[in-house]
């Protein structure tokens, strides 16, 4: 198998890309309203529920799902398993796009978008959010630096600066690769620290001092499944080789990583005695059960079977469940678990919040398509060639 990535030669404008464009326009219009009439005009946020899906999904899930970037970088570049390099570029692209949109989501969600730079100057080292913000800011930069070689491969001759930067990076890239992994570990865990400060508001099903460790280990666990999901979607929609020879071994590592997360999660639940409310039929308990059973236990058991790991469809299903499970976990921690003691009714995302979130996802897909079309990201062989 060749590791040589190259731009895909498929027509860019397809029904799929048009649909994404529609979502992007809807989100853009919503943002016009948000910046004209305030957050109240497009969100259901209020004094009881200050954080909604823009933090719970766009930021928290977004950060988790970009974990494919640092986990594959660790494997291929730090452990030196160059066999996996075929998936590092698409994972890197996903992470770079994901984090860029995390930053944009934060920009939109905070009331004073123009003041977003202020944490650099006014620092509160007690704040978990400060730690997250610094890491995300730095990591977005690092990710795009890591992406420069890909851009230079294609545009180096036209844009001299890219070629120049690329030559410098050839000698220093190791710094950024390690930095990327370190920053990821830092803020993946600090994201879990965010709601540790609100023990009386977060349901005991999720609130534990181990939240940072759970966020970190689940980020480790979701990295390779995210690569499986993303590669499978990309290769099947672009009709490329499925790369099962890379994805199969990756999913074996996931058995260990997801197993560690599962052990800590279940062990913590039992040790704290928080499992007592599990079967009370409340929305919180049910959401917790779905998260742990369908998002962790079932896919973990599935991955134990070699037949699952060899089957493209079954492997995709298991990986998808893990990805959805971690997304649901972040949504649960930030939205479902959060009970405001004086709220008269619970928070539901407003249509405006949903439109912006959907538009962000569509934009990521759209830009992913742009990048794989014009830059050497994917290494999978074309189906026609391999046949």
């Amino acid at each position: 198998m060749t590791h040589k990535p190259y731009p895909v030669d498929r027509p860019f404008w397809t029904p799929g890309t048009y649909v994404m464009l529609v979502f992007m326009i809807a989100a853009a219009l919503t943002l016009v309203v948000r910046y004209t009439f305030g957050l109240a005009a497009v969100t259901n946020l209020n004094n009881h529920y200050p954080w909604g899906i823009w933090i719970g999904l766009d930021v928290a899930s977004g950060v988790a799902l970009a974990a494919g970037g640092f986990t594959t970088a660790f494997l291929a570049h730090i452990l030196g398993r160059h066999y996996y390099e075929a998936v590092t570029r698409p994972a890197l692209l996903t992470a770079a796009l994901g984090y860029t949109f995390v930053a944009i989501a934060v920009f939109v969600d905070i009331g004073r978008s123009w003041a977003i730079w202020k944490p650099i100057v006014y620092q509160n080292h007690n704040s978990a959010l400060f730690e997250v913000a610094m890491c995300v800011m730095t990591y977005v930069t690092v990710l795009w630096i890591e992406f420069i070689p890909v851009l230079a491969e294609r545009l180096g001759k036209k844009i001299r600066l890219l070629a120049f930067l690329n030559r410098i990076l050839d000698k220093t890239m190791w710094v950024f690769i390690i930095l990327g992994v370190v920053l990821s570990c830092m803020h993946q865990s600090s994201l879990g620290t965010l709601l540790v400060i609100a023990p009386t508001k977060v349901s005991p099903l999720w609130h534990t001092p181990l939240m940072p460790l759970l966020f970190l280990t689940s980020a480790f666990a979701v990295g390779y499944p995210m690569v499986v999901v993303e590669t499978t979607i990309a290769t099947s929609s672009l009709k490329l080789d499925s790369e099962m020879n890379v994805l199969g071994p990756l999913s074996r590592i996931t058995i260990l990583l997801l197993g560690i997360y599962m052990a800590i999660k279940v062990g913590d639940l039992i040790a704290r005695g928080a499992y007592v409310t599990l079967l009370d039929g409340s929305a919180q308990s049910n959401s917790f059960l779905v998260e742990v059973v369908l998002g962790v236990i079932v896919p973990w058991v599935m991955l134990l079977f070699p037949a699952v790991r060899r089957s493209r469809k079954l492997l995709f299903s298991a990986a998808f469940m893990i990805v959805a499970g971690v997304m649901l976990n972040r949504f649960n921690v930030f939205v479902v678990s959060f009970k405001a003691p004086y709220a008269s009714h619970p928070y539901y995302p407003a249509i405006g919040e949903v439109l912006v979130t959907a538009g962000a996802v569509a934009t990521i897909f759209f830009l992913y398509r742009v990048f794989v079309t014009f830059f050497p990201v994917l290494s999978a062989q074309k189906q026609e060639v391999s046949q």
Binding site: T36, F37, A40, D109, G111, K171
Partner: protein, 300 residues
């Protein structure tokens, strides 16, 4: 990708590990000011006249209220402070009978509790919220980015937000009238109270007063000063004739809200020891694997 300077990497790894040995994680210490002001609210005295709401409105130059301050019909609505109202009075009927055998009301004033170790101050990403030596939890809009983490963190659900302002919304809450404290005056609500339901002074003295009232008249009060121990102590204290749970108060732990999160943050990131150690470790691994690969290539 080529990885040069392998020896340097190895050395860096070792150095990183050596420099970054974890120092003993320091035990968490309260940052509460030693001698803050405090307010005692005696719920058995409050008559629900809303004069404190009116004074607060005037002192803080807040917008005209929708319902006039002499209209007492909204007392049952269980209002909360918001971006235009820093304090509210709610009426409860906890089940006590008066001497004419009718349900007796209890009025409860709600405002920022000005915690000794405030969750909002610990959470605030820029330090826009701070605990002043006089006890006031102070909001500095010039640092605020509008992330609303303070609101998510506050156990009393107090900070309110100007959700209708598209560009420059502020977090709004009771200021403890810190500018009046600086001039030696009492907060607006305290000054106006016609029945002396609120007592202002140093927190120690006010707490003593609260305990004195309870012990002198145990039939009148439940034996609990709310805010003495809750979330590590608050500058606003309450005594009541009713179970606090029946008149809108939460049962909160005595542990300060920021204790666990700050302990975690500092244990992990003091002097950036863990990122440095991880960087060193990964550098060492990367140097080792790339050297091994080169040797293998050489042998082949």
């Amino acid at each position: 990708m080529s990885i040069p300077r392998r020896k340097f990497l190895g050395a860096l790894g070792a150095a990183g590990m050596a420099v970054a040995m974890p120092g003993k994680a320091q035990a968490w210490e309260s940052k509460a000011p030693p001698d803050p002001f405090g307010c005692l609210v005696d719920l058995t005295r409050c008559v629900g006249c809303r004069k404190c709401e009116q004074a607060c409105n005037e002192v803080n130059k807040l917008p005209e209220p929708e319902t006039k301050f002499d209209d007492l019909t909204i007392l049952d609505a269980k209002r909360r402070p918001d971006d235009k109202v820093y304090t509210v009075i709610n009426r409860y009927y906890p089940g006590r009978m008066d001497d004419r055998n009718k349900l007796a009301p209890t009025f409860v004033k709600v405002q920022c509790m000005h915690c000794q170790d405030p969750a909002c101050v610990s959470a605030c990403i820029t330090g826009a919220l701070s605990k002043r030596p006089d006890g006031a939890v102070h909001y500095d809009v010039s640092k605020c980015i509008g992330c609303r983490y303070c609101m998510a963190a506050c156990p009393f659900e107090i900070p309110a937000y100007e959700y209708h302002d598209p560009i420059t919304p502020q977090v709004r809450k009771c200021t403890f009238c810190f500018d009046r404290l600086e001039k030696g005056q009492k907060p607006g609500c305290v000054s106006i109270c016609p029945v002396e339901a609120i007592t202002f002074g140093k927190r120690d003295k006010v707490l003593e007063l609260a305990k004195g009232r309870i012990s002198r008249d145990p039939a009148r009060y439940v034996d609990h000063v709310y805010g003495e121990k809750e979330v590590g102590g608050t500058s606003w204290l309450y005594i009541s004739g009713d179970d606090f749970g029946k008149v809108g108060f939460q049962n909160l732990p005595a542990r300060p809200m920021p204790q666990t999160s700050e302990t975690i943050q500092h244990a992990l990131f003091s002097y950036l020891w863990s990122p440095l150690a991880l960087f060193g470790l990964l550098g060492a691994v990367m140097g080792y694997t790339s050297r091994k690969h080169k040797e293998e290539d050489h042998d082949a």
